[in-house]
């Protein structure tokens, strides 16, 4: 099997898991795994150092959110009803289907391998769904981080600038910092998912 297919499957599974899981801590684990796969892909395109920056920054962001979730009073995470599960699964599935609706021929204005373009769209799309489905700060920020991961996957094929990598790393850390701030000081009931 082509390596790109393995990456796509891993990205899709983790994105769907983050969409269907109710416990934000397990969602964090899924996002952390996404960053490993992102590192795997990016290390084949950019230098190992730049790929490592993405991995370390991603994991730091996840750790920041995780630590802040650990420090808020424990709340129970009610499981989704079956209709919610089906709705989320269908939404995620439709998104994956949508990404495959693009022609497999290379796009002249965007020089990216099609399977990776699909992976990026799946990540960004599932991030958008995750963000839109919840009013909780932790989940909304996780969604934004997932959108950013999808974008970084696509962007790694286009630009290998150290400055841009640094700026995107700052944005990722900034978003996680804002997430941690909102979780600690503006906790919404986590059952509002």
């Amino acid at each position: 099997m082509n390596l790109a297919w393995i990456h796509l499957i891993l990205f899709s599974l983790t994105a769907l898991f983050a969409l269907l899981e109710t416990d934000p801590r397990l969602r964090l684990v899924a996002i952390a795994v996404q960053y490993v796969v992102l590192f795997w892909v990016v290390s084949t395109l950019l230098s190992l150092g730049l790929a490592l920056v993405k991995l370390i920054v991603g994991w730091t962001a996840v750790a920041l959110l995780g630590a802040s979730l650990w420090n808020v009073p424990k709340v129970s995470f009610p499981a989704f009803s079956w209709s919610q599960q089906v709705f989320r699964l269908l939404s995620g599935g439709m998104l994956i289907g949508l990404s495959f609706s693009f022609s497999s021929a290379p796009i002249p204005w965007l020089p990216i391998e099609t399977l990776y373009l699909r992976s990026g769209i799946i990540l960004a799309g599932c991030g958008l769904l995750l963000n839109g489905f919840s009013r909780s700060p932790s989940i909304s920020i996780l969604g934004l981080l997932e959108i950013l991961s999808g974008f970084e996957l696509i962007y790694a094929f286009l630009v290998d600038s150290v400055l841009m990598t640094g700026m995107l790393a700052l944005v990722t850390l900034g978003l996680a910092g804002v997430g941690a701030y909102l979780i600690l000081f503006h906790p919404l009931p986590e059952n509002q998912i």
Partner: protein, 466 residues
């Protein structure tokens, strides 16, 4: 020494220093006001690109600083903008002394301001997007102090602004690959759409406008006013820079027409919506959308005059938005609670309600007030290009002004207010309101005074008029 050291790196280091002193709010406010005034004066006086002699010292101000192969360029033509940004920020920080703002406001506000200026200075323009995003991220703790308000509007704001980043970076990269004018426009149309969507998210263009109305209502008004006016003004300047960098985009038929359509629709819808507003804080957001609509119309004109008119209106826009936010924050009374602000709160007529109405009327382009000369010029120029667009914009403008009369009638009604603490009495004379009112009248009566700096800045966007 490079100009970026003076107007970007020095204030950024100061913001970091002020963050550690944030518990001493009087000290940090005083220092930030002093720094902003100093930097505004420096921008007005110092010769960029020339040599400054101070006794035995000679100081050369080079306009370019290179960072990892990219440039931060603050040339002589940017000086009026630096005066405007630092001068208006000094005013906002001065206003913060009147309102019980969060201790994060000053350091985060200064850092956001610096990042916005860096976004305007960076070349190529594509690097502006992450800088604006960072400025927005930094603004969040000041917009939403600990344990105050609901994060709903803030999350909406952050989400919509963050979505602009990937769209602008990917679209900007694709357009950057095009050398000269592309032979087949269809190949770059998706990239133009991506960049357009990104700008629409930044500028609160319908239907991505919700955050502009929700934020002032859900969050402390005064800091929200500062950050939103800063984000919106900087975004506009980056849009101008973008069109200046890719002048061929204007030749794509739907772009200019689309800008014009979106512009007058924003004016019309904002003018209409103000009639149904039951909370004055939403008026602030609608005022921002209304003014942005006129900004888009000015850019759609595709002439040097359009750019000059847009730049000429910037001081009026910032001062008008400041006055409305300042007066509404005065009317709100309770600093720790987010109270509704119905139009009835304008009664009894006071300096505060007068200030609010002056700010509102100025944004609406009432004759003799600050926005009028540029607004009149935009409408005249629009009439020469499209009568239907001019009628739409004029109708929206009239609706906005007629709503001002409705709000004025509230101020003349007998007050139903029962509990007002003496220190927060809105009838108390407020020097800052008076200064802003005089400023709005001055800008309206002496428009020529600001034409020269606007023309000077517009010269750096000459490609736009070709």
């Amino acid at each position: 020494m490079s100009t970026a050291w003076l107007w970007i790196i020095l204030p950024l280091i100061s913001a970091i220093g002020l963050w550690f002193l944030r518990q001493h709010q009087r000290l940090t406010t005083g220092m930030s006001i002093g720094l902003c005034i100093l930097l505004a004066l420096a921008a007005a006086i110092l010769p960029v690109g020339g040599t400054l002699r101070l006794g035995g010292w000679t100081l050369e101000l080079s306009p370019v600083l290179t960072v990892l192969g990219r440039q931060l360029r603050l040339a002589g033509t940017d000086r009026p903008l630096l005066v405007l940004f630092y001068g208006s920020s000094a005013l906002w920080f001065l206003g913060a002394t009147r309102h019980n703002v969060s201790s994060f406001f000053i350091p985060h506000g200064l850092a956001s301001l610096v990042l916005m200026i860096a976004a305007l200075a960076v070349e190529p323009f594509i690097y502006s997007a992450p800088l604006i995003e960072l400025a927005i991220i930094i603004s969040i703790p000041a917009l939403l102090p600990p344990n105050q308000a609901s994060p709903r509007a803030t999350l909406r704001f952050l989400t919509l602004q963050s979505l602009a980043l990937p769209l602008l970076l990917i679209g900007g990269w694709v357009l950057g690959q095009v050398e000269g004018v592309p032979q087949k426009i269809e190949t770059v149309l998706p990239a133009i759409l991506m960049v357009g969507l990104g700008f629409a998210l930044w500028l609160a263009v319908f239907p991505f406008h919700t955050w502009a109305i929700m934020l002032p209502q859900d969050n402390p008004l005064f800091p929200t006013g500062f950050f939103l006016s800063l984000v919106s003004t900087s975004s506009f300047l980056i849009v101008i820079d973008f069109f200046n960098s890719f002048p061929w985009i204007r030749t794509v038929a739907p772009v200019s027409a689309g800008l014009q359509l979106v512009g007058w629709l924003m004016v019309l819808l904002a003018g209409l919506w103000t009639f149904f507003v039951t909370d004055l804080r939403r008026v602030w957001g609608l005022g921002l959308i209304f003014d942005s609509g006129f900004g888009l119309i000015a850019l759609s004109l595709g002439t040097f005059q359009g750019v000059t008119l847009f730049l000429e209106t910037l001081p009026a826009r910032i001062l008008g938005l400041f006055l409305i936010a300042h007066c509404l924050a005065n009317l709100q009374h309770s600093h720790n609670k987010i109270l509704p602000l119905p139009p009835e709160r304008l009664a009894p007529a006071s300096w505060t309600s007068l200030g609010f109405l002056m700010g509102y009327s100025s944004l609406g382009g009432l004759p003799l007030l600050a926005s009028f000369p540029a607004r009149q010029g935009i409408l005249f120029a629009l009439a020469q290009q499209s009568s239907s667009a001019m009628i739409g914009a004029l109708l929206g403008n009239l609706l906005f002004l007629i709503n001002g009369i409705r709000l004025f009638s509230y101020a003349l009604r007998p007050s139903e207010e029962t509990v007002v603490s003496p220190s927060e009495n809105p009838q108390t004379f407020d020097g800052l309101t008076l200064i802003a009112i005089i400023g709005l009248l001055g800008l309206g009566l002496l428009p020529g005074f600001f034409l020269q700096p606007a023309w000077q800045v517009a010269r750096s966007f000459l490609n736009l008029a070709r």
